[in-house]
Subunit: 113 residues, 2 copies
DNA sequence: CTCCTTTATCTTGTATTGCAAGGTATATGG
DNA sequence: CCATATACCTTGCAATACAAGATAAAGGAG
């Protein structure tokens, strides 16, 4: 059991949520996720994931010049992506409900963290 | 993105939580998890997971006769298992906080489910 | 007794996905 | 030309959920 495993299938949703608000590029996205508290994850995670999401038509990308390096690839949500984000939110809420229900089963015995 | 992927590393914690309260056997555990709302998962998920947890010394097992079939293997938490359950709860709370923070970023735009 | 159903466990193989490690490309400054 | 920072990509590995199928024990029908 590790934090790694708990991220499976959840990072996707978080990325969709961030992109929805405004165009972002990969490097920037990684920084934002760190700000949100998702630590210890590398570019080896984020770039393959973005490419996968583009292949699934959840996002589109546009190259734009940067002032300080190679071109940035900005991502934007497609309609499919918005739908998928909504699906993720619903699944996440159900998951939270179920897991918290199971844990309440345990913490009711008195183990306030 | 699927429900399957979102379960990674989370099922472990839920199982530990259920076992903590009272000895249960695999088949029974599967039924309980379904009651808690975890649908669509099979014995091919639960038995390998229980064996893995036993190998990691998180649980111990005892065989007991059943009135209606082969022997049942009852599982019980070890001290390591209790510790791991506490670790899981902490990780789960952090994950919830982070993901909900990201989603608030999105839902603030007005999309009440 | 033999066959079938229900209960209960285990094994094998596959797909998904997070991540470390390492590689490539562009702009600026010495 | 070379070093550094920014930015992106590829390869290979490890963890794990699950479908499909095998095994085993007990009770009832014929």
């Amino acid at each position: 059991m590790s934090t790694t495993q708990m991220m499976k299938g959840i990072l996707d949703g978080c990325i969709l949520a961030i992109i929805k608000n405004k165009e972002v590029y990969g490097y920037e996205l990684a920084e934002k996720l760190e700000d949100y508290g998702f630590s210890n994850f590398s570019e080896g995670t984020i770039y393959p994931l973005l490419l996968r999401m583009q292949k699934e038509k959840l996002v589109t990308s546009t190259l734009k010049k940067s002032t300080a390096g190679p071109k940035r690839k900005y991502y934007r949500l497609t309609e499919n992506g918005e739908q998928e984000l909504q699906n993720f939110i619903e699944r996440w809420e159900i998951l939270q409900t179920n897991v918290n229900h199971v844990l309440a089963h345990e913490t009711k015995k008195g183990k306030g963290v």
